[in-house]
Amino acid sequence: MAPNDSAETTGEATGTVVVRRKAARYIVPVAVAGVAAATIGLVPALADSGDPQLPKITAQELIERIAASDEQQLSGTVKISTDLGIPSFGGLTDSFLPGAGAADSTSSAAPDTKLMELASGTHTLRVAADGPDKQRLSILGEGSEYSLIHNAGEVWAYDSASNEAYHAQSGQAGPKGGKAEERTAPEGVPTTPKALAEEALAAVGDTTSVTVDGTAQVAGRDAYQLLIKPKQSGSTIGSIRVAVDARNGVPLKFTLAPSSGGKAAIDAGFTKVDFSKPDASSFSFTPPKGAKVTEAEELKAGAEKDGAADKAHEDLSALEDFRGLNVIGEGWSAVAEIDIPGGSGLPAGGSGDVPAQAQQFLDALGDKVTGDFGSGTVFKTRLVNALMTDDGKVYIGAVTKDALVKAADTAK
């Protein structure tokens, strides 16, 4: 009989031996659990075998390497985590983009709203590119996928959850797909590490320190870390880190840390990347039978639905025409001063203009501040703060509350 069938055969053994043998068997599951826990804990630590040894390089050389980077073909998986300190963008989209709701009811596959969702939470994306004519971007959902495919002038978007497709010619004013799409994406929505790095580098000036800060491994590739920090105080942006592939200069990871510390506000990077030619079939798309296809023209034709983003852009350009738009300071601590058309800002407490509950709600959202400028309310997120004064001015910038108050004081 098998040696491990002791329970049947040890009947005559003394009680203590039996108890000890019984107890000994339970060591097996405990040991298995322990080994599993140790493996889960240790494998990532071991795989992260320290930073790679790479020849020293200056920040200037590294930026040149990025600029010279000429990788036309790549495919990979990107993970984006955003924590801007605002509630989920998905539900707020309607209020941010007036008319977006209408467009949404026409086609859930229209790109504007989908890309907006990237601005909060953690998302996994797949990207693939083969030259300037073929790009693909997919947002992976649970059991569904949203794909944007650009292939030689044709742009398709497909939402598998609702089985709806959206079609546009890239010559149109509509979304352009792929890389082009990334540039026209709604402001503040990071898409690839490359776009993000370019944005950050554009801000370089006397106000900024740019250094090479060691090396790292990103998606299994050796990379240099470019560290960008504001020299001025008062900015809410603590540092921006860009990991750049040591061999071909492609930015692989982008991390934006707020100066208040804590989790990165934006963390976007490849978890897998491959610089060989992607499969040609991944850029071909024919709408599946029965899928509802919305043409970009149809969306345009629908009078009021006329491109929510366009309307928002009009609003923005209207803002720029304001007599009151005024930028205080420069570089990282720039603060925009905006006059609210039509006078007074938030109704002061007890003025009777708003119900008490609504007033409480507004007060709960912001902090009351006072200064030489008078008094107002500060609305805070992790990156952008806004000060709305009681006399109808708004100061907004990626700066701390104190810096906002100071800007408001100087503006007086």
């Binding site: 329970a7 889960i40 998986t77 992976l140 497909y158 089985n163 499969d279 029965g290």
Partner: protein
């Protein structure tokens, strides 16, 4: 168990193997022939029929189902019956399938104990370890059978009520019907494998008590509790270690190219659960006093 196998003058090792096979065969026939098991399988087979008929009636006037609500893949069923397989598996995996497995696994040892048949099984010179292995193997076979019942029923209903043909993956690319079928088969296997960890847990619970009902209720209770924990955002830190967390990752097989990360993670997690609770069940079963 046939006496012929033990009296056959075969060498020792093959005779042991025959013994194990014999136990497994008798376990399997006992499990699969039981009225309760057949009722469970019938309920599982009915789910795709219900889903298929509901979608068919709703879209009978030619319009597609509105919006993207409900279980995944519902919107695609009208255009390709094969999607009923994926929809049915996503609908049954969170509750129906594991519940059926929980009933069978929870009953496997405790049911024998409460029926008073466990000691007769132990009289046969098979050894407790091999009996337990045979029990677990038959539960695993039940996982596969239950998944296959859902998939085959869904395929039959889907093909009968809806057109079939080229499959559009959720990435928007197209694959042939043959490859679509292949992926459906692979998905069924992955779904069955997703249940192995939970099956081991059920087996362990089953060795703890002499009451079959108590073991089944406890196993299904654990399932529900863990699934509730898996939805609580405050416990995000432990989610990756809960056995149902990656269950729906089988949908990644419908992407193009297939994304393996979570599927592999899921199978690894199931293997850990199977090892931990399997060995715990072994420790308990081989040391406990069987009095009934």
């Amino acid at each position: 168990m046939s006496q012929a196998e033990s009296v056959a003058a075969a060498p020792r090792v093959p005779r042991r193997a025959l013994w194990t096979l014999g136990i497994l065969r008798s376990e399997l026939t006992m499990t699969l022939r039981r009225g309760r098991t057949l009722a469970l399988l019938a309920v599982l087979a009915a789910v795709p029929v219900l889903v298929g008929i509901a979608v068919r009636i709703e879209t009978g006037d030619g319009s597609g189902p509105g919006g993207g609500g409900g279980p995944a893949f519902l919107a695609q069923i009208t255009n390709n019956g094969l999607f009923l397989v994926f929809a049915a598996l996503s609908a049954t995996l969170p509750v129906f399938l594991p519940m059926a497995v929980g009933v069978v696994a929870g009953d496997s040892v405790a049911g024998e104990a409460s029926g008073g048949t466990l000691r007769y099984l132990l009289v046969a010179p098979a050894g407790r370890t091999r009996l337990l292995v045979a029990k677990y193997a038959s539960v695993l076979v039940f996982c596969l059978v239950a998944t296959a019942v859902v998939a085959v029923s869904a395929l039959a209903v889907g093909a009968a009520l809806f057109p079939v043909g080229e499959v559009t993956t959720i990435s928007g690319t197209r694959i042939g019907f043959g490859e679509g079928l292949l992926r459906a088969g692979l998905i069924a296997v992955v779904v069955a494998a997703s249940l192995t960890g939970f099956a081991a847990l059920g087996l362990f619970v089953s060795t703890l008590t002499d009451s079959g009902i108590a073991a089944m209720a406890a196993t299904v209770g654990v399932l529900i509790t863990v699934q509730i924990l898996d939805t609580m955002p405050q416990l995000e830190g432990i989610h990756p270690y809960l056995f149902p967390h990656y269950w729906l990752s089988f949908t990644d097989l419908l992407r193009d190219p297939v994304r393996w990360d979570e599927i592999v993670g899921n199978l690894g997690l199931q293997a850990v659960y199977a090892a931990v609770f399997g060995s715990a069940a072994w420790a308990r079963f081989t040391t406990r006093d069987i009095t009934v």
